[in-house]
Symmetry: C2
Subunit: 208 residues, 2 copies
């Protein structure tokens, strides 16, 4: 852990600068995201996050009094940041088919495995944490919307002929989620699974 953000250190080296509540809360959420990506959502406790930041547990409890909500918010932060990265990978691409390929390729990127692990854990924990389940559903809706919009653009441009972009979008999301979960145990299915996946999706989209 870096001591850069430790309040004790700053107190010795420089006049204490009181952080605004918003800054402090953001810092706590960010520390929780780091813990979740390294050790899993189940590792999120007031004590563990306080240790990560070098502050007292009571300070974390002040901002995050309910662990269920804290876990849900941490999931939401990780998932939204990841989705934003995928959106950026496709931004600036004019060709709609290339945009969809960029989304699909980056959603299956093996560098995303730590994020996938958080998703997989969230599906399991969401059975007993309703705040988390709600956050997971909301994030799935956002992903479905992202995919639906690209597909709809392609239909409008005459590149795709999918009659129901919303339905295709959730089928594709199901495949992404399943393939990523399988990748956690290094199951490759067929060697060229990514190429097969892209071609299956384009088939669903009516690309001949």
């Amino acid at each position: 852990m870096s001591t850069k953000n430790s309040p004790e250190t700053s107190a010795r080296q420089a006049p204490r600068v009181r952080k605004s509540p918003a800054e402090r809360h953001a810092e706590i959420r960010e520390a929780a995201a780091v813990v979740a990506l390294e050790e899993g959502l189940a590792a999120i406790t007031l004590r563990r996050v306080a240790r990560q930041l070098g502050v007292a547990s009571g300070l974390v409890a002040h901002y995050e009094p309910r662990v269920e909500d804290f876990v849900a918010a941490t999931f939401a932060r990780i998932a939204a940041a990841d989705r934003t990265e995928v959106e950026q990978a496709m931004a600036g691409l004019d060709d709609v088919a290339l945009r969809l390929r960029a989304v699909l390729a980056s959603s299956l990127d093996s560098e995303r495995l730590p994020v996938t692990a958080v998703w997989v854990e969230a599906w399991g924990l969401g059975r007993r944490n309703e705040a988390l389940a709600a956050a997971v559903r909301e994030e799935m809706d956002s992903w479905q919307e992202l995919l639906r919009n690209v597909i709809r653009d392609g239909v409008r441009a005459g590149v795709y002929s999918a009659p129901d972009p919303a339905a295709v979008a959730w089928q594709v999301l199901g495949m992404i989620d399943g393939l990523n979960a399988q990748a956690l145990v290094r199951w490759e299915g067929v060697p060229d699974r990514r190429e097969h996946f892209l071609s299956a999706v384009e088939h669903l989209l009516g690309v001949s």
Copy 2:
């Protein structure tokens, strides 16, 4: 817990019957499966399983000295039993299209949610337990084979025109795994997702 299988009780009520090592081991594996389905794979410890059976931890340790292998074997037992049920749901159906629909419908049955939860947990834990990861890959291969065989039968019967049954099989498996994981947090996507799924699969199979 029922006391029916407690050795102390049997000792009081009846002459002690020494169980064969195979019987004892099967009993231990079965108890672990019960614990995993109710509390998760992470709950599998020598102590917890011993308590479930009403025996000493040392007896469980004698049969299952490595917890990683014990967890892997428990996953394998649960997954294989579940797959056998799905296979039975399709056995006896002559019509290949009905057989595939029976497999898909029972694989998405909401009564399978506890088994899905075990799968989802296994993908996560498999990152750090190689024996478990191997068991998960092996079970995924069996599922892929099951689907591939039905699809191949359909192609032979002229019902499907899929050029590559093996590739379609893993795409379908990816969708099943993703849709089931999503169902854990009660995400429904579109209201008629099961019907959409079946029609998407038949589309992949070249059914017009």
